[in-house]
Amino acid sequence: MPSLETAPFDPRFPNTNQTRYCYSSYLDFYRCQKVKGESYKPCQYFKKVYNSVCPNSWVEKWNDQREDGTFPAKI
């Protein structure tokens, strides 16, 4: 039986608008991976957060953009 756990409350984003929480977590994961390497476990925290908070269509679109090289931010 899995224990129920989700992305925690982040005091950097205390208000209704959580768009930045999703986007920042996505960027932080890939930047963390780039700097620390793919096997660095603590980076997975960001992945857990963006998987919980970001809509799947947004994540898929950003993944496609990263592969095409058209992703708008620097990783």
């Binding site: 129920l4 989700t6 925690p8 409350f9 209704t16 768009t19 919980s52 799947n56 269509s57």
Partner: protein
């Protein structure tokens, strides 16, 4: 859910909605008492024979009917502000559910543990069974565990929609390109209904929301069943 008999708020399924109902009842009681008082005064003016030609002033009564309304307003304002701040309390959710509004259905995603996504279409009237509520029932309901803080992230894929469940006291706009968060806790099991609350085209009235509140064990088995589909 609302029926034609629902005059005031529906029964609440969440502690915050309960508090909203209490505040409403408290403020309405004060308003009704003032209305009855003013109505009585006006009615008695029609039927009494009092007159006094030399009336100029009445300082004491003027003081009373200036201070008393201020006091009454304090009685309304204090519970109201308390609830206003209570609604903005920070809480640590147990489950995150995402909902995306489309024209003209809602889709839900549970991605904390398994990648569960499904669409929730209204059951058309010509495909209804006897036990369905017309224009309110859907093919796939959202399941949530009760007595657990739920975080709902609401967005839209095309135009503005609004996600609401009146018995939970929740209504939040679904805006394309924006993630709106709302948090609630259900304190009883049951099935709760809502309807899209922002005009979104031809079938705006035909994209309802149905939430089923179940025990945490049932929720975990529901997650297992859904993730195999």
């Amino acid at each position: 859910m609302m029926t034609w008999k629902t005059l005031m708020s529906p029964d609440s399924a969440s502690p915050l909605m309960e508090q909203l109902t209490f505040l409403h009842d408290h403020a309405l009681m004060i308003l009704l008492m003032i209305t009855v008082l003013v109505g009585y005064l006006m009615a008695s003016l029609f039927v009494n024979k009092f007159n006094y030609r030399y009336l100029l002033e009445g300082q004491t009564i003027e003081m009373i009917w200036t201070i008393l309304p201020a006091v009454i307003l304090i009685f309304i304002a204090l519970p109201s502000l308390r609830l206003l701040y209570l609604l903005d309390e920070v809480n640590n959710p147990l489950v995150t559910v995402k909902t995306i509004g489309h024209q003209w259905y809602w889709s839900y995603e549970y991605t904390d543990f398994a990648n569960i996504e499904f669409d929730s279409y209204m059951i058309p009237s010509n495909e209804m069974e006897d036990y369905h509520f017309r224009l309110l029932d859907v093919d796939n309901r959202i399941a949530v565990p009760y007595n657990s803080q739920i975080r709902m992230i609401v967005t839209a894929a095309d135009v503005l929609h609004s996600w609401t469940i009146p018995t939970l006291g929740v209504k939040i706009d679904a805006t394309p390109g924006r993630l709106n968060q709302i948090s609630f806790l259900l304190n009883r099991t049951g099935i709760f209904f809502g309807q899209c609350s922002e005009i979104c085209g031809a079938n705006h009235s035909f994209m309802p929301i149905v939430m089923e509140s179940i025990s945490p064990e049932c929720f975990i088995s529901w997650i297992y069943n859904m993730s195999e589909i």
